[in-house]
Amino acid sequence: MSRFIIQRLLSSMVVIVIIITMSLWITRQAPSNPCLKEREANTCVCVKEHALDRPVFPLHVGSPLQEMKGCEFWQPASSMSVGPVTLIGLSDWGNTQFAIYMKTLMQGSLGKSMVTERTVLESLKSGLPYTVHLGTQALLLAMLIGIPAGLYAGLRQNTASDYSVMTVAMLGVSVPSFVLGPLLIMLFSLELGWFRAVGWESWSDSVLPTVTLGLYYAAYIARLTRGGMLEVIRKDYIRTARAKGLTEKLVVYRHALKGALLPVVSYLGPAFAALLTGSVVVEEIFNLPGVGTHFVRSALNRDYNMVLGTIILYSSLLVVLNLVVDILYTLLDPRVSYDK
């Protein structure tokens, strides 16, 4: 098992380097750049300051490079079009944006934001606690609602209670968060005055965002649990357990539950990752200071460093979460083994 974990962690490092490389390239392909403003500004200075006037990689693939006023700018003129391959020259390796970024990374920094005056690390540090808090709470709420609802419905397949429980659960996935959130605000903040409508200063401020975000995933989890339960309840080992004369409760909770939760477990990793960025809409509606807002805003602002920083954070979390999911998988289902 430990060998498996070490192997996974090593390959994960490779994965993250690949992600960085790809993201670096993709961000530079998007039209426009971080320095462009509504009024003519000193764009060239900004380009030079952030070393954007250098090639991204020594090997440049793409159409002719676009020139900015007074600057040599290495972004392709028309994005993504496949053009000739030019070798910038190996002597320039150390001058490429990639090399510069990797050097910064080696020093434990994610660079400076290209739009604000803060470092990427600072911004992520200030946002992450809120996003993780919100995500964890929402996921807990989702499991607390989704798993019992799914089990309950799964054990009573095709009965009225199955339908009604699932119908209610499905409302979460049927109502977009940008509809649900404002509705909750309207009811609980504006009409009843129980919660504040905007911001995050105390725990009570996290209630409405958690519900808005959590209900969506609760529906997913309820579905997966129900499906898993239906699947597993007819398996041979359950029949054997029943045949042994175990009580229905014991059969369900000792034996069936583990199997029924397998699809849920494999969903939890991506679900948590999705919660982190998927909370964008919720963060926007409730004006929460999380990472999701940073991500979208920096993508729209072409704040390359911020985007890359967020992606690195996000990918690292994801890799770890997926690893945890795989380990949980082996614990829940002894037939799955990674040591051969």
Partner: protein, 453 residues
């Protein structure tokens, strides 16, 4: 023990039936599932609506997708507008005779006079008891009367300043501000309550019938006025009929959901099953690729694709589906890993069935339950994603629209025009619910182990 034997017998019987008609059997089971059939019916109904937008616009709503009636907007459900494309002319007699409409008697009908004629028409409709004035009941029941704002109602002097810009508020105090001494409201006092036609629309109307090019209608050119029609679900900020737009939106939303899901289904199932079945290095590499894709900045991908593919919405959502397959692949892989150790796969392998055949004939059908559950969840997910993109301005291009785009537009107005978010939201929710029940039914019907239990 007795029980066990029985079920074994059943299993044997089942094996024989399966050999002949798995899908026919599944169809029968599906038909028995009422919830699933109801879902199928609703999804089908929505699909038919989506396909017949042109017919519905012409014969049911009377408005087109882009047609704007921008006066006292957004109009609540039940309000009336004057259609510009599909209309029926009212006879030029009585209150609509040439002389009656030409109020200043100069022998020409001008835009202002047409507007006044419609005001009169609307006033008579609202004035239920026909006494020529409105009492508070009639006033409050008028479709254009505005919901009273929450925490305050303007004072009379304040109201006098803003009554030009908005419809009257449904509140006794405001009614008193406008009403005369008799406690009733005349047509002159009713302000925007009876405005159903803007001066711009009136000009267009004249231009439509004007042959001489003088922007006025003479007795010869005047053939009556188009009959106002009801906006069954109200209108948006530009006075466009919501029902018509929702019917059109259904087209985009459903197409996007189904197309993207199909794409994700095809890629995800093949990818996940292969990885799970082959295992080892191949699995490792394939799943690392999935991991990399997961870590990719989705937002950037979409922005890039928008640039590359331009405004072609379908290509974009095929790309969306290509993002969605990741989870599908993981789920299929998980299922396949736990299935492939089972006896029936071992058995198939011993009798020399090829790997491809094992994957597609044995593993995937047995893993179909969770796959279908996930696929039915992908449809709403994609529809929501499309809404999210519209929310960010990267979705459907105006004036085209989708349910998601309609709901996200409605969000901004939900305080004063709740219908704009409720109806598209409801359409979305009902359709998604139906799809889920349909998916459930399919799941049950396709599950070979479930038969006759």
């Amino acid at each position: 023990m007795v029980r066990d034997t029985k079920s074994n017998n059943r299993a044997v019987e089942a094996e024989i039936i399966e050999g002949t008609s798995l899908w026919k059997d599944a169809g029968q089971r599906l038909r028995k599932n009422r919830a699933a059939m109801a879902g199928l019916f609703i999804v089908g109904f929505m699909a038919v609506m989506a396909l017949s937008y042109e017919v519905i616009a012409k014969y049911v709503t009377g408005f087109t997708l882009e047609e704007q009636h921008p006066y006292v907007v957004p109009k609540p459900p039940g309000a009336r507008s004057v259609p510009a494309t599909y209309y029926k002319l009212l006879e030029p007699s009585g209150a609509l005779s040439f002389e009656a409409v030409d109020t200043n008697g100069d022998g020409m009908i001008e835009a202002r006079e047409i507007q006044a004629a419609y005001r009169q028409m609307e006033f008579s409709t609202i004035d239920k008891n026909g006494d020529g004035v409105l009492d508070y009941e009639e006033y409050a029941a008028a479709p254009l009367a505005m919901k009273s704002p929450g925490e305050f109602v303007p004072k009379c002097e304040q109201w006098a300043n803003i009554r030009r810009s908005m419809a009257p508020i449904r509140h006794p105090d405001i009614f008193k501000c406008d009403a005369g001494e008799a406690g009733t409201i005349t047509i002159e006092q009713s302000g925007r309550l009876v405005d159903i036609l803007s001066i711009g629309e009136a000009r267009d109307l004249i231009n439509r019938f004007d042959k001489s090019g003088d922007s006025m209608l003479d007795a010869g050119e005047y053939v009556g006025l188009p009959k106002p029609r009801t906006n069954l679900l109200g209108t948006d900020q530009l006075g466009r009929d919501l029902l018509t737009r929702m019917v059109y939106g259904a087209r985009i939303s459903l197409a996007v959901g189904l197309l993207a899901t199909l794409v994700s289904f095809l890629i995800g199932v093949s990818w996940g099953a292969t990885a799970g079945f082959v295992g080892g290095k191949v699995d490792n590499i394939m799943m690392r690729i999935v991991d990399i894709m997961y870590g990719l900045p989705f937002m950037f991908l979409v922005i890039l694709l928008m640039v590359v593919f331009g405004q072609n919405i379908f290509l974009l959502f095929i790309a969306l589906g290509a993002v969605q397959w990741l989870t599908m692949a993981r789920i299929v892989r998980g299922q396949v890993i736990s299935l492939k150790g089972q006896e029936f796969v071992e058995a198939a392998r011993t009798i020399g069935v090829s790997n491809l055949s094992i994957i597609f004939k044995h593993l995937i059908p047995n893993a179909l339950g969770p796959i279908i559950v996930y696929a039915t969840l992908t449809v709403p997910a994609v529809m929501l994603e499309e809404a999210f993109l519209s929310f960010l301005g990267l979705g459907v291009q105006a004036p085209q629209t989708s349910w998601g785009a309609l709901a996200s537009e409605g969000r901004q107005l939900m305080e004063i025009a709740p219908w704009l978010i409720v109806f598209p939201g409801l359409a979305l929710a009902v359709t998604l619910l139906s799809m889920n029940f349909l998916g459930d039914g399919l799941r049950d019907a396709l599950d070979p182990q479930l038969r006759k239990d």
